[in-house]
Symmetry: C2
Subunit: 668 residues, 2 copies
């Protein structure tokens, strides 16, 4: 590995580099990786179960869960999960269910007695559990779950029930084989018949021996397109009774007299606060999608540098990565993977701050929950975090699906063989685009949240300020930056006054182009939804429905911009030298290929002339030629241990071997 | 099924409707479909082997193969394969290898004695075989295969040999388990050491009992990302001797004295003629990709019409397909599937004509091969067929990958379960984009072939004609139409003189827009490659390499245009009435969404103003609203028997059941 790739690796490794380094030493082949051959589903499940216990024995879960939550390091925990994403994704999901979702629900929604009772055995994997939220009829619209949790004052118990087939808990990880206790989400109802919205209760689903508990019907989702080692199942409850103490009651409790109380009066606000505490899961999925994509890119790039096809002008077969079409397939995707990894590091750090600030507030006796009247600073940070988490979850997982597929195709028939991993990476990550929040629904959430932030800021200004802000092309106002204002200022100021054609060649100019697109899409969207009439729900619904594509476009523009900001900050923080220059070049490729992909927008909105658009394609081609010699360095900087990439794609016949056999001529 | 869908079905069914209808009666669940549960690989292979014998017993293969080739109906054969594409794709590929590739090689490259000896047992599946073309080191560049077939005059045998590891035959269907005889492609060398280019020889690889023949090393490719029922394997030959008579010698033979002769003098020309006779396989893969995509669209549309999520303005949860974002995912893809099916029907008919014309020429004593000096009319037809086959193979298979994936995501978690088929359809069709010709390589072939045809026509004109042709915006000249000139004339003339904004709303105007794009891309490409210097191979190679994206773009524009032409012809041939109106509307959606996807081009080249581009998006939205009520009719017209679509997605809780359970309120 070159010095350059070492320096780049340091930048990519980010704040929790030590967690990555520690993981890189646990490289016994197969220990946390996939099996060498396809296994029958039950053997696969058993294998992943054992890997989970092995992870637990290393203290893996303690990073994110501990009885007092003080000893945790949330950033380290997410980074550790990200590293598992380089291994078997079935194990990643199994661990995510056990510690991230199930354990996370107990930690975030429970109170001291739950923490004391459960967190230790959960962390040690002595108690395996499920996160039973999704129902057959409601996945995205969790607020409309139909499972009921009804308090019976006669016995002071909660009665958990599945009222109809659509309320069956579905696709639940750990349910079909291993789970003993489930965190079940449903509508909490007190004896007076009042509903209090969605809450979470712990329900034993199997006894020690593994038999289903009375009243609990357990089904098996069977084979899936991927993730064969995860035992997804279905849970149906027939008036199952648990003690009142099983209610995870941080945000809503029932007292001995059967009365409900909550620090948050509004059901809706409480619901979104509860969901918000689970943000870590969404961040982790995006992180692991990034790892899987880097595995795939490493395989496809190494293969593309060794494999040759069709004779070139000198009679030698040409290396695949010397073809422009092959470069176009892999290099812009590689540049985007860089941007995503850098942005994900910043998101992990932001999450670390917000979760630990929450915890400090809890310890300090503050309730950690804002009042009913407008968001306080802590709540604003949490909202911002949720939007960014949703944005990067979508960005990482959709990039994973598209890029791993491209890598598979770039390796032809070899890419289709199980042993070579790409098909498995593709199939395992596939569901990432629709679980932990469906990507389309999440993009809408991001778009709407940007719209709200925009409207809030707009309303806070007086008329003159507003007109001035809208008039400013660069859009410094109204958009929240994800990097320091002084860096933005430095970059953008440096680029002002240059020729328009040069904007693309300069980070500040690129930022202007990205920001302009986001701001304008958002602004026109705001104008459009202002037409929704509050007094006419049908008209309002139609207005929003017609604008769906516009909302998605706003979210996509936002994602592109925050990725570029992360790139700008990372280049800025890398010591001057060839590594920084190379990172800068990859940033240029990310920027140019993103603008090229969206050039219809720039043309439609008069931001670019037809001539400039055509130049853009040549500019991207020039960048591909410039990046091409460094492509091995760039995948080496991902520093994925060789043992984690078991695949013949890393050992194709080398170009030297083929050349040697060719020069020897056919033996007859 | 409505009358409208019946009429549309008749148009979609095309010339071999009777083959489709017969297949639709063979609907015993599972007979030609996938197993209900995932099977271990060896059980899966055994199952598909048995299904193959079952197919043979129905006389399936006789449509495409018979000892005298007179009794065949090539169009019916390809259509029958297309129908198998609705079932298990492992069976489709297994049958394609046995009858299409292995049997097809014997039929097309062999002569009377091979036909008499082998075609009957191959058709009856008493003799199972392999098509051993691809090598580990050469897949796309078949002309550079390294396996050698050397004549030994001492024994009058051919010696088949694998000279180095890169020459190993790889990914060969039927090789790992079932094949007895292999059609092996390699470099034919006569005793004097002269190479004659790639030829095909029949090599026994297993004895009756299934043991590998001496000198034949058989490997197993093991698990793959999909197609688990196909036993792909590897073949290495160590000086394996077969009689000289085993050479498939239609295009090149060795006489008893060891002298080589061929009706085609040039090695290169002979090679491409031999490859050209195998065009049927490529056409069949595109056809089956279309079937698989229609399966997926049927599942996703039916699910999207039943599944509801998030309350609408009336308090009821909204049907997924009423969301604009969901319509945008599925309906343009559905429209393109229509276009592809119609274009595929025309391709099948064209292939039928060309192959039977060949056969008639053979029977008439003509050699069916053109001379060395320029293409004759028969050869021109074959070349045109090859270009179209490559274009539609790419179009169908890339659409399959993208659309089946979209359908999977549109069904959320349910779409990920094996039982619901979408993951399996996705995984099985995945390799279609890289086998039977890698899509990127094929697109280049299409682009280059368009360029050659363009240059030929251009050169045939005098200077004044050429200038006039280039000046004509509509590009009537220089592009070969796939539909009758009189229909084009009628449509285009009808649209002339209208307002530019109306062009989009009228088939003739749409055709102009599509043709204009193809012509201009091709024209500028021609200008660009003219700069390649014949005296400087390095400069010429770089010029072509730099233009790769441009070549691909030309091919894509061509595909879009021939799909629109097929739509125009199909609407024209459908009896006037509501079915024709609906088909016309779907054609408008295909046209508008394709132009929208390529609007950057129209903007860059001044074909569209920014305002028109923005209107376009509204126009597509209007078409989605217009198509939405008919979406069930449109998938019903695919007429895929219910028994072939075993999946819970067709039986989600109906909206009525969910509504009933909601109005009953939660039971507690």
């Amino acid at each position: 590995m070159s010095d350059v790739s070492d320096v780049i690796r340091e930048t990519l490794d980010g704040p929790w580099a030590r967690v990555r380094e520690r993981a890189r030493t646990q490289t016994e082949p197969g220990r946390f990786g996939p099996p060498e051959a396809d296994l029958p589903i039950e053997e696969y499940r058993a294998r992943v179960h054992d890997q989970l216990l092995d992870l637990a024995s290393l203290g893996f879960a303690g990073l994110g869960l501990s009885a007092d939550q003080e000893g945790t390091d949330q950033g380290a925990s997410v980074t550790a999960f990200e590293m598992i994403g380089h291994g078997d994704l079935s194990l990643f999901v199994k661990a995510g269910v056990q510690w991230g979702l199930f354990g996370g629900a107990v930690a975030a929604l429970g109170t001291a007695r739950h923490h004391e009772l459960y967190l230790e055995p959960i962390a040690q994997a002595r108690l395996l559990g499920c996160f039973a939220m999704t129902e057959t009829g409601h996945g995205s619209d969790v607020q409309s779950l139909r499972t009921t949790i009804t308090h019976d004052p006669a016995t002071d118990e909660l009665v958990v029930h599945t009222p109809d087939p659509s309320a069956r808990k579905d696709y639940i990880g750990n349910a079909a084989r291993d789970g003993r206790l489930a965190a079940v989400f449903g509508q909490l109802v007190t004896a007076d018949g009042t509903g209090h919205g969605v809450h979470c209760v712990l329900v034993p689903i199997r006894d020690e021996a593994g038999a289903a508990m009375p009243g609990v019907l357990i089904g098996d989702c069977g084979g899936k397109a991927g993730l064969p080692g995860v035992d997804n199942g279905r849970l149906t409850f027939d008036h199952v009774r648990v003690p009142r103490a099983n209610l995870l009651d941080r945000y809503g409790s029932i007292d001995a007299a059967g009365a409900y109380s909550s620090p948050i009066a509004s059901d809706g606000k409480r619901f979104f606060t509860m969901l918000g505490t689970l943000v870590r899961g969404r961040i982790t999925v995006g992180a692991a999608a990034g790892s899987a994509t880097r595995n795939a890119l490493t395989l496809a790039v190494v293969y593309g540098l060794a494999r040759r096809q069709f004779a070139g002008p000198d009679g030698q077969d040409v290396v695949l990565l010397d073809y422009r079409a092959h470069q176009r397939k892999l290099l812009p995707a590689l540049a985007r993977s860089y941007a995503l990894m850098l942005a994900q590091n910043e998101l992990t750090a932001a999450m670390h701050e917000v979760l630990h600030a929450d915890e400090r507030a809890d310890r300090g006796g503050a309730e950690g929950v804002e009042g009913e009247h407008g968001p306080g600073p802590g709540e604003r940070d949490r909202r911002r975090l949720e939007t960014r988490a949703a944005a990067l979850k979508v960005a990482n997982t959709s990039h994973a699906s598209a890029t791993i597929q491209t890598c598979r195709e770039a390796c032809g028939g070899a890419g289709y063989l199980s042993f070579n991993r790409l098909g498995k990476l593709r199939a395992d990550t596939d569901v990432f685009t629709t679980f932990e929040g469906d990507n389309t629904v999440l993009l809408q959430l991001v778009g709407k949240s940007l719209l709200t932030a925009y409207a809030d800021q707009f309303e806070a200004m007086n008329h003159v300020q507003a007109v001035a802000a809208v008039a400013r092309q660069a859009g410094e106002a109204l958009l929240e930056r994800t990097i320091s204002g002084s860096l933005v200022q430095r970059l953008v100021t440096g680029s002002r006054g240059r020729d328009a054609d040069d904007a693309l060649r300069d980070r500040g100019g690129q930022l202007d182009l990205f920001t302009d697109r986001e701001r304008h899409v958002l602004e026109t969207l705001a104008g459009r939804v202002r037409r929704a009439r509050k007094d006419d729900p049908h008209q309002a619904w139609e207005t929003f429905n017609d604008a769906q594509e516009h909302v998605l476009e706003a979210a996509r523009a936002h994602i592109d911009r925050i990725l570029l900001e992360a790139f700008a900050a990372a280049v800025d923080s890398t010591p001057a030298g060839p590594a920084r220059d190379l990172l800068d070049l990859v940033g240029d490729l990310y920027a140019a290929s993103t603008i090229e992909a969206n050039r219809a927008w720039y043309l439609e909105h008069g931001r670019m002339s037809p001539e400039q658009a055509k130049d853009l394609t040549r500019h991207v081609d020039d960048l591909l030629v410039a990046v091409r010699p460094h492509v091995r360095t760039l995948v080496d900087a991902f520093a994925i241990p060789r043992e984690w990439l078991v695949s013949d794609l890393l050992d194709p016949l080398t170009s030297e071997e083929v050349a040697a056999s060719v020069s020897a001529g056919p033996a007859t």
